[in-house]
């Protein structure tokens, strides 16, 4: 059925006289709505925030400094222990090196004994200081 048959008014001449069907406000209108900003102005001030940040930062740096001191003391303990031990280790290595070097010199003399110009068993730089033998091998016992 058409709308005219549902909503008709008695004595209607045309469809244009039909009573309107609209969605509208309730009688008396809607309640008033607030849409204005009301941001509150309380809370910590700028100086308070700055002081709190500065305080947290300085307390943190103080803790870092304390931890660094402790860590430096631990490292110093380890280094002092190494300093105490190293002459012993160097002395043992020197003994081993001297015996190996003697064997090496004997081997060199045996190999080069027929070469006319070969002076002596030892043939190093001319600066006068002792230099460790430069064989290019990092750990000859492994290789």
């Amino acid at each position: 059925m058409t709308e005219a048959m549902i909503r008709k008014k008695a004595g209607m001449a045309s469809v244009k006289d039909m009573p309107v069907l609209q969605d509208g406000p309730p009688p008396g209108g809607f309640a008033p709505i607030r849409f204005a900003r009301r941001i509150p102005n309380k809370g910590p001030s700028a100086m308070a925030i700055f002081l709190a940040t500065f305080g947290a930062f300085s307390w943190g740096m103080y803790q870092v400094g304390k931890g660094n001191k402790i860590r430096r003391a631990l490292k110093e303990e380890k280094y002092a222990a190494r300093r105490a031990i190293i002459p012993m280790l160097q002395a043992e290595e020197d003994e081993r090196f001297v015996s190996e070097w003697k064997k090496y010199l004997e081997e060199e003399a045996r190999i080069m004994k027929d070469v006319p110009g070969w002076k002596v068993g030892e043939n190093v730089y001319h600066s006068g200081r002792w230099m460790p033998p430069a064989t290019g091998e990092l750990r000859p016992d492994i290789w």
Partner: protein
């Protein structure tokens, strides 16, 4: 590490044992250490500093033997802890305190 002594009963100077006794070595063998280091600074040739090196080795080995005789249990515990924690002092504080209480510096 099964034991700190070799077949003759002498303590073997492993790295963990040396690090455990490092404070004692630093005080008791200080003269020999400094003499050896001075000799090395003057001439790095190993053959020139062999006698001072032998003095250093003798001092350290005698010291290890004395420590092993006086407080062997604490020394073994401390060296074993060092061996387990690869020479980290901070992880062996308990054994270190026991050792220094038994064999004072």
């Amino acid at each position: 590490m099964t034991s700190t002594v070799d077949t003759a009963g002498e303590p073997v100077p492993t790295s963990s044992l040396l690090m455990a006794a490092a404070k004692h070595i630093g005080t008791k063998c200080r003269g020999e250490n400094l003499a050896f280091l001075k000799c090395k600074k003057d001439d790095p040739n190993p053959e020139k500093c062999l006698d001072k090196g032998r003095q250093v080795t003798q001092c350290v080995l005698h010291l290890l033997r004395d420590l092993h005789q006086n407080c062997s249990k604490e020394l073994d515990a401390y060296a074993g802890c060092m061996y387990y924690h690869t020479n980290e002092f901070e992880l062996c504080r308990k054994e270190q305190k026991e050792f220094e209480k038994a064999c004072t510096l």
